[in-house]
């Protein structure tokens, strides 16, 4: 695989990042003057990047497979001695699919936000931050070295913080933004340590150099790098143990949840591990760690999502679980990389559609998020209902919707590894069916449980058109990518693809999965559509109560990190106030006290002074005499 320089249309690849970045700069620096036309500029920049992305895809499809890695150096950034890092972009098959996902889903969400944030006085700032996010995410996927990737990594973290805490006057939103940023930071430590380790081992952090000489490093070093990258990915993708921030991040506006916490930012971790596939291929232990983290998160997300009454938090739990699936696939190695990316793309589309649909429901129900107050909305909000159902069928994996194709490939790859992992994946698929059916039943079916001042209505066209487009994507994207786009062949040159035999034929696994999904959906239907849904949440069994508390994730974080840190801070304050200040003030007090005592020797009497003079003379004479002796 040769690395080609950027020529022709590809020389414009820097525009992909520059356009939204310029949009963000203009919107944020011109201030209130751009309030009128700002949002439209925001939509325009991202849409232009989307169009450019499609054109670049067409160009790339025209190139032979070996020539599809194109590099453009924008600026020579760091050159210290042996270490040099360029501001350089790399366009290959992997980054191409990400660019399309980010820009197309991003522009749809920008258009949706025109309607959703129409009444918000700060909407210009919102679009500025959204543009900033898109620019940073594109930088992340287009970087050709880990350091530039880290810049994009940090950029999306900052944008996520700004957008979660967009309604900064709400204390809960500000706290959630801080929580997200701080937990992300813990993961970022992993990434920076990995970069340092890479520099020490390989002397460079460019992808081509690292992957080229990966086999020469010891397995221990590669395992360390792999585990550190896993830490970073867990932070950014809300995997166990750094998952606590994702549910709180729903404090942000719904378009933010759709774009950042469903489609793009949370998938950055998957991208990182997929991109570093060479490292994981040579470090068994790190790959196993990825699988373990993924399995834990799949179940955690599913169980939490089953007990939440807040529609956005339920969808967040679902996101956590689905990303767990993607992490499981990348952990499985070359048998799963391709399907992880495939599921990432389909999930990006249908989860964005689900979130935007939830936003449309909230918009119609006066921004009420409590599903216990919904019910029988299918006749009132028809377009929302239909697009939501499309996303629902996609996520639970009913053929021929898009999620079926990608998720079943992952389950099949899991079974290629072993019964346990495969069985766990199938069981989680069943739970997915349960909680998604619960959500749909509580929202659109059953009896009306509306509040007295609720007048649900369909959303305006500027919001429903993106919903329709994403609904179509949820339906057809899977088939399109698999059959027409041949995603396995497309991605194989970058991430590698292997296939191992399985005991049972493929159709058997499909059947088992569908069986579990349907059973789960029926249980959810009976519980929530047939029976009365109480308006007050019932006490529930121990699992329900634990799930409502995010499986005590916050409590664990508090006990392990927050409480000791608070204690340490208090101890330091005590130390500073008492001991350090005490020392300083004490020495001042001692000086004051001493001088107060010594002051008394100034009696004003001439004879006392004369006495001390004579005393001094006697002492000097004594010294002189003693020296002579």
């Amino acid at each position: 695989m040769t690395v080609m320089p950027a020529e022709g249309l590809f020389s414009l690849m820097w525009l992909l990042i520059a356009l939204p970045l310029a949009g963000a700069a203009i919107l944020l620096f011109t201030g209130r003057r751009s309030n009128a036309w700002g949002p439209y500029l925001g939509v325009l920049t991202v849409s232009a990047s989307a169009v450019l992305g499609v054109l670049l895809l067409i160009e790339m499809m025209g190139l032979p497979t070996e020539d599809r890695t194109i590099t453009q150096v924008a600026y020579q950034w760091v050159f210290i001695g042996n270490f040099s890092v360029d501001l350089a972009f790399q366009l290959d098959q992997l980054s191409m699919v990400f660019i399309l996902l980010i820009t197309i889903v991003g522009s749809l969400i920008h258009i949706y936000s025109l309607g959703y944030m129409a009444h918000d006085p700060d909407k210009r700032k919102f679009f500025g931050y959204l543009n900033l996010f898109v620019a940073a995410m594109l930088l992340l996927v287009m970087a050709n070295n880990y350091l530039l990737l880290y810049v994009g990594w940090e950029g999306v973290g900052v944008a996520s913080y700004l957008l979660i805490g967009f309604w900064q006057q709400k204390r809960s939103a500000a706290a959630a933004a801080k929580k997200a940023f701080i937990i992300n930071r813990v993961g970022d430590v992993g990434l920076s340590l990995a970069i340092m380790l890479m520099f020490v081992t390989f002397g460079s952090v460019t992808f081509s150099d690292v992957f080229g000489s990966a086999t020469q490093a010891s397995e221990g070093t590669l395992t360390a790098i792999g585990l550190l990258l896993l830490l970073a990915a867990a932070g950014k993708s809300a995997q166990f143990p750094l998952q606590a921030w994702l549910l709180d991040a729903m404090e942000g506006p719904t378009p933010v949840s759709a774009l950042i916490h469903a489609a793009t930012m949370v998938t950055a971790g998957v991208y990182l591990i997929a991109r570093s596939n060479v490292i994981y291929n040579n470090a068994e232990i790190a790959a196993m760690a990825v699988i373990i983290v993924a399995l834990i998160t799949i179940f955690m997300g599913a169980i939490i999502g089953s007990a939440k009454d807040d529609i956005k938090k339920a969808l967040a739990g679902s996101t956590m679980s689905q990303i767990g699936y993607m992490m499981l696939a990348v952990g499985l190695g070359p048998i799963g990389y391709v399907f992880a990316i495939f599921h990432l793309l389909t999930h990006g589309v249908f989860k964005a559609g689900l979130f935007l649909g939830a936003g449309s429901v909230m918009h119609g129900m006066n921004d009420n998020v409590n599903m216990r107050r919904y019910g029988a909305l299918r006749s009132v909000m028809v377009i929302t209902f239909i697009t939501f159902m499309a996303g629902y069928l996609a996520i639970i994996g009913i053929p021929p919707f898009s999620g079926f194709w990608s998720k079943d490939e992952i389950i099949h790859a899991a079974f290629e590894r072993g019964w346990f992992i495969g069985g766990a994946a199938v069981l989680a698929a069943g739970i997915t069916g349960f909680y998604m059916t619960r959500m749909v039943a509580m929202t659109f079916f059953g009896k009306k449980r509306w509040e007295t001042d609720a007048h649900p209505h369909e959303s305006p066209a500027v919001m429903t058109i993106p919903l329709i487009i994403l609904g179509l994507g949820s339906t057809f994207l899977g088939m399109a990518l698999l059959f027409w786009g041949d995603i396995e062949a497309w991605l194989e040159p970058v991430v590698g693809y292997e296939s191992e035999p399985t005991p049972l034929p493929t159709s058997a696994y499909i059947g088992i999965t569908l069986a579990f999904v349907i059973v789960g959906s029926i249980i959810g239907w009976i519980t929530y559509a047939r029976r009365e849904v109480p308006i007050e949440a019932p006490h529930g069994n121990w699992l329900t109560r634990a799930a409502r508390k995010d499986l005590y994730g916050d409590a664990v974080n508090h006990a392990l990190v927050v409480a000791p840190t608070n204690y340490a801070a208090r101890a330091l304050v005590f130390f500073d106030a008492r001991i350090v200040d005490g020392f300083v003030n004490g020495s001042a007090a001692i000086v004051g006290g001493l001088s107060g005592r010594m002051r008394r020797t100034q009696s004003g009497f001439i004879r006392s002074y004369a006495l001390s003079m004579v005393g001094g003379a006697v002492l000097v004479l004594l010294a002189l005499v003693l020296v002579r002796i």
Partner: protein
């Protein structure tokens, strides 16, 4: 006789003068004790002039006398002034430099 005995005598007179300065409270008697100390110093100079065989000691003693006279003039003037304002000749009287 050994001229060192003059030195011993002068030392003794000097110490007695010092004790006088420290113990007496009347300003004029303190001043007189200072004069006594100056005289003792003069005796030392003269004795050393004799011991060393040149007249430098006597010359210095002469100058000491001149300076002592000037000092007495000014000192007594001050005592008189203080006495006029405070009606007291005690040397403990001016104690405004106390803390």
């Amino acid at each position: 006789m050994d001229p060192i005995y003059y030195i011993y005598l002068a030392t003794l007179l000097f110490s007695i003068g010092a004790i006088g300065v420290l113990v007496r409270r009347n300003a004029i008697i303190v001043f007189m004790s200072v004069e006594l100390m100056l005289n003792a110093a003069n005796l030392v100079f003269v004795a050393f002039a004799r011991m060393n065989g040149n007249l430098d000691g006597q010359t210095v003693a002469f100058f000491v006398m001149v300076v002592a006279a000037a000092e007495v003039v000014v000192g007594l003037a001050i005592i008189v002034q203080v006495f006029r304002t405070r009606q007291s000749a005690s040397i403990d009287e001016p104690n405004l430099l106390k803390y």
